[in-house]
């Protein structure tokens, strides 16, 4: 008889288990003297006969009639729909070696009659461990005992919010690894998650079969509403060559990018013509959906940017020292790249057009500052040494004549006439005899003030006929390239017989 009583209690347990959080459980111990067997109240529980799992209300009323005992308000088990737990007493009683009710329901191993409670999860895990050491262990197979959350319609918002997060989910590397875990055991994820759980971060959730299979759930939608997406920067994104390598990685596996990035992510840098074929395979941001990782450029102190180049790197810097954030600052080029970009642009090791339009080149190479400050604010006052040392080639952006010479004339540094009367080159009274060395070392400096005819006053047939050519001057070669050039200074072709 006692066996039957325990069986009844056992059968009752799963049904009562979660309900007990909301309603006071039946005080079995206080009724121990009344019921010698579990089946007195829980008849047919072993057969999973739901109609007879609980005692009829009239049975309680035999005592709780208001005269013998106070009346109770219990009106019988409520029909609440499917719970998260799936349990069949019928199956367990058929397979169990020990089918005594107390084998699962005895409270803390108590031998006292009807000192029972719901079975703890460890009791389930004692058979259904699957290698797990605890109920929420990573190796647990949730689907063994649980139905999917979407199907567990009996769960209220509050009960969903109270579901404990498995310890594995708090691991630092979990976010990066959870995709593989989900693919390996999708039913485990579905125990606690619905499609909306994933949509909070995954911008491609709609096109992911694994996520779509979770099903939609309004309770989860309410639960995640307003919670920001969080992203852990993958380790390969922190590689110092990621700027160079990410394009190949994207072409190879754009689906991986689409997990966190919309087109907007890429277009925060890729505003040029390149990479369009790849980028357009990413989803567009949609209202109500996750916007994905938000990238923006780091502010740089361009007004006195360093000169030297450094290895190209893309630094992804978490904002405000947070590891997980949707907003990331990106610096693609190293400090000083503006002045050292020539090698990368010329060789093509970086595809400028992927991110930049021609207008970017023109904003500097047309010689006028429009949107970018290439030089320091006081550059005009300091530009002479940099021009002499050709740290960067002035003429790659500025016309020596129309910009440098024009400005030097406007500011009085060079005469608007052919010569000047005062002593600009006052460093050396004998400058006229010394200027040849300076001119050969930096002829662009001369041309930034002097017109050709100024020099031709001495260096031409019409002038003093002072030969300006160096010993290695190949007159024949230059004449072949542009014969008219010789006649600027020579009255007739000096190479003609």
């Amino acid at each position: 008889m006692r066996l039957h009583a325990f069986l009844v209690a056992l059968l009752l347990a799963p049904v009562v288990a979660l309900h007990a959080q909301a309603a006071e459980a039946f005080p079995h111990a206080r009724h121990a003297k009344l019921f010698p067997v579990c089946s007195s109240c829980h008849a047919s529980i072993a057969l999973s006969d739901s109609a007879r799992m609980f005692p009829p209300v009239a049975l309680c009323a035999n005592c709780h009639d208001g005269a013998i005992k106070p009346r109770v308000s219990w009106t019988g088990p409520r029909k609440r729909g499917a719970e998260l737990l799936v349990f069949s007493h019928l199956q367990h009683s058929a397979k169990a070696v020990n089918t005594a009710c107390e084998s699962c329901h005895a409270l803390d191993g108590s031998k006292a009659w009807m000192n029972v409670s719901l079975p703890v999860q460890a009791r389930c895990a004692s058979c259904h461990a699957h290698g797990a050491t605890a109920h929420l262990d990573e190796k647990s197979n949730c689907a063994t005992c649980h139905r999917t959350l979407v199907k567990a319609v009996a769960l209220t918002d509050a009960r969903i919010a109270a579901i404990r997060m498995p310890p594995s989910h708090s691991r630092v590397d979990f976010q990066g690894a959870h995709g593989g875990l989900a693919r390996a055991n999708p039913t485990s994820c579905a125990t606690c998650h619905a499609r909306e759980s994933c949509q909070r971060c995954h911008v491609d959730a709609a096109s992911q079969p694994l996520i779509a299979a979770l099903g939609s759930d309004a309770r989860i939608a309410r639960f995640v509403a307003g919670k920001p997406a969080t992203y852990t920067t993958p380790s390969d994104h922190r590689m110092h060559q990621f700027a160079l390598l990410h394009g190949s990685a994207a072409r190879t596996n754009i689906a991986r990018c689409a997990t966190c990035h919309t087109r907007t992510s890429c277009e925060s840098c890729h505003t040029g013509e390149g990479a369009r074929e790849v980028i357009r395979r990413l989803p567009n941001p949609k209202p109500g959906a996750s916007p994905g990782v938000q990238l923006r450029h780091t502010p740089v102190l361009t007004s006195f940017d360093a000169v030297q180049s450094a290895p190209v790197s893309l630094q992804v810097m978490p904002e405000l020292h947070r590891i997980d954030t949707a907003a990331h600052l990106v610096r693609v080029h190293p400090t000083g790249f503006a002045k050292a970009h020539g090698a990368a642009a010329a060789s093509g090791v970086q595809s400028c057009a992927s991110c930049h339009s021609k207008q970017l080149c023109a904003s500097c190479h047309t010689g006028e500052r429009v949107t970018r400050r290439y030089h320091a604010a006081n550059f005009v006052a300091t530009h002479a040494p940099q021009a002499y040392s050709r740290e960067t080639d002035c003429s790659s952006c500025h016309s020596t004549e129309a910009f440098c010479r024009d400005c030097h004339r406007q500011t009085g540094l060079s005469s608007k006439a052919a010569g000047r009367s005062a002593s600009f080159h006052n460093a050396a009274p004998l400058w006229r005899f010394q200027h040849g060395s300076a001119a050969r070392q930096d002829l662009k400096g001369c041309a930034s003030c002097h017109q050709q005819t100024y020099c031709m006053q001495c260096h031409s047939d019409l002038g003093s006929r002072i030969n300006p050519h160096g010993p290695d001057f190949d007159a024949a070669r230059m004449s072949r390239k542009n014969p008219a050039l010789c006649l600027y200074c020579h009255l007739k072709n000096p190479l003609a017989p």
Binding site: Q241, L244, G247, R263, T298, P299, L301, S303, F304, V307, Q308, H321, T335, A343, A346, S347, G348, C361, A362, H365, R369, V370, T371, A376, A377, N378, A381, T382, P385, Y388, S389, S396, C397, H398, S399, A402, F403, R405, Q410, R420, S423, N426, A427, G436, S437, A438, Q441, D442, K444, T453, C455, H469, G470, R477, M478, N482, A484, L485, Y488, C489
Partner: protein, 474 residues
């Protein structure tokens, strides 16, 4: 030609599926004192030579027997206020890969009667580029005014450009009427004639091509050849070739390349740079470089046998992982080739400098730098310190302070300039951004240097706006 390009580009955009117009309006205010000629009584200038100094140390040019000597000094304060308006148009949607692009610049100057005319302020309309593009998977073609940017620099031209790409290889060719570098006008432009009394007499026609090979994402090499013919095809204005290669493999960054002036049979630029490319806090690089001034053949300068210099550069960057700061040190030493003039001025030069940067969470950043540049022609020492605050994604504020000392070898005299500048930008909406900067500089001339007084105020304001949408967005 400018107007023709605009006339073709603008109506075409009206029937486009989509368009995007970006405008940048820039207004600057620049104040300075010109270097002007003045006279002093010859009797007030000690000595009797034709070249002597005033009692204040200012060099004076005196003619024996003349009552006055001439000196140079700073004139009265004048200013310029150039205005630039850039308009950039992109329109697309007539056919797959077909688009039209134009970038127009309008220049003017407020206060046109002012004696200081900002360079090119009187060149009121300029089509920076204006071209139609047809882009397909393996090829791309452009027609119109456009830019060729690469190892040889940036060349603008009116013509055609074709690009073919296949796997790791691409080839590009271009041809058309050449425009002057940095001027964006034809060789026979009045803009050039206004500042050079021996301008080119004929237009130039540009032909060029590049072959680029990129075996993997970390390596690439490119060869470029380009020539500019005179319109009558009797000569060349330029003939140049370039080769560049880069790789980032084996924990090293190697960049090597040269620009060769075929007409003069000289290397204009040749450099090899090797740097560490590892995931460590300290990064080093060394570079060997040869540089020689390059001149096109419409000037006589190339016939004056300019010489180049050889330079060695080193740099080290230290950025500890996770630390908000980074340090950089750099140095360079150069020696000039023999000039064969019989007279030797300074034949070497060196640079050294370093900077320290600090960036906290991307919102606050600061940078300090110090550089010394000693060489032939001019020398300077320069120190900067500055910071930037990104108050919000829309608001950025920055400021710098600087001290500069200049030493001019070819003009005796030193000067110190103390400066302070501030700048800020604010995004009013998704499509409108405004930016401004101001600077104050105090110039102290020493040794009676006859340079212009650079004590000045500078200011600039810029408004950037966008109309239309990005391709692919609703």
């Amino acid at each position: 030609m400018k107007r023709l390009l605009l006339v073709l580009a603008l109506p075409a955009s009206l029937c486009a599926q989509g368009y995007r117009i970006t405008g940048v309006s820039t207004l600057q205010f620049i104040e300075l004192r010109q270097l002007v000629l003045d006279t002093v009584l010859a009797s007030s200038v000690p000595g009797f030579a034709a070249w002597r100094n005033t009692v204040d140390g200012v060099p004076a040019s005196c003619v024996v027997g003349a009552v006055f000597c001439t000196v140079e000094g700073s004139g009265s304060r004048i200013n310029a206020a150039p205005v630039l308006q850039d308009l950039t148009l992109a329109a697309w949607g007539w056919s797959e890969g077909l688009s039209v692009h134009a970038n127009v610049r309008v220049r003017s100057q407020i206060g046109a009667t002012d004696p200081l005319l900002f360079p090119r302020a009187n060149d009121h309309l300029d089509a920076i580029d204006a071209y139609a593009e047809l882009d397909r998977a393996t090829w791309r073609a452009r027609l119109g005014r456009q830019w060729s940017t690469g190892a040889l620099g940036a060349y603008a031209f009116d013509g055609v450009n074709g690009l073919w790409r296949h796997d790791h290889l691409s080839a590009e060719g271009w041809s058309g009427r050449a425009l002057l570098g940095g001027l964006n006008d034809p060789y026979t432009s009045a803009q050039l004639a206004a500042v050079d009394n021996l301008p080119p007499q004929q237009d130039g026609y540009l032909f060029g091509g590049t072959v680029r090979y990129r075996p993997d994402p970390l390596s690439a090499a490119a060869f470029t050849y380009q020539r500019i013919l005179t319109a009558d095809r009797t000569g060349l204005y330029a003939e140049r070739a370039a080769f560049n290669a880069s790789t980032r493999r084996y924990a090293a960054t190697v960049d090597a390349g040269f620009n060769f002036d075929v007409a003069a049979a000289e290397f204009d630029e040749a450099r090899v740079r090797v740097g560490t490319n590892w995931d460590r806090p300290v990064v080093f690089s060394v570079e060997a470089r040869h540089s020689r001034p390059y001149f096109e053949l419409w000037t006589i300068w190339g016939a004056f046998s300019p010489v180049g210099f050889d330079e060695s550069r080193v740099s080290a960057d230290w950025a500890p992982r996770g630390a908000p700061w980074a340090l950089t040190a750099r140095g360079a030493y150069r020696t000039y080739a023999e000039t064969n003039t019989g007279i030797s001025l300074r034949t070497n030069g060196w640079r050294a400098g370093g900077d320290a940067s600090w960036q906290n969470s991307g919102r606050l950043s600061a940078l300090a730098s110090y550089d010394v540049d000693i060489g032939s022609g001019a020398s300077s020492t320069d120190a900067h310190v500055g910071g930037r605050w990104l108050a919000s994604p829309d608001l950025s504020l920055g400021g710098t302070a600087s001290v500069t000392q200049s030493i001019y070898e070819f003009r005796v005299g030193t000067g110190r300039i103390y400066g302070a500048a501030a700048d800020g930008s604010y995004r009013l909406s998704a499509d409108i951004r405004i930016a401004a900067d101001v600077g104050l500089y105090q110039h102290t001339l020493t040794n009676g240097a006859p340079g212009p007084d650079w004590t000045q105020r500078r200011a600039a304001m810029r408004i950037e706006w966008t109309m239309g949408r990005d391709p692919g967005t609703p």
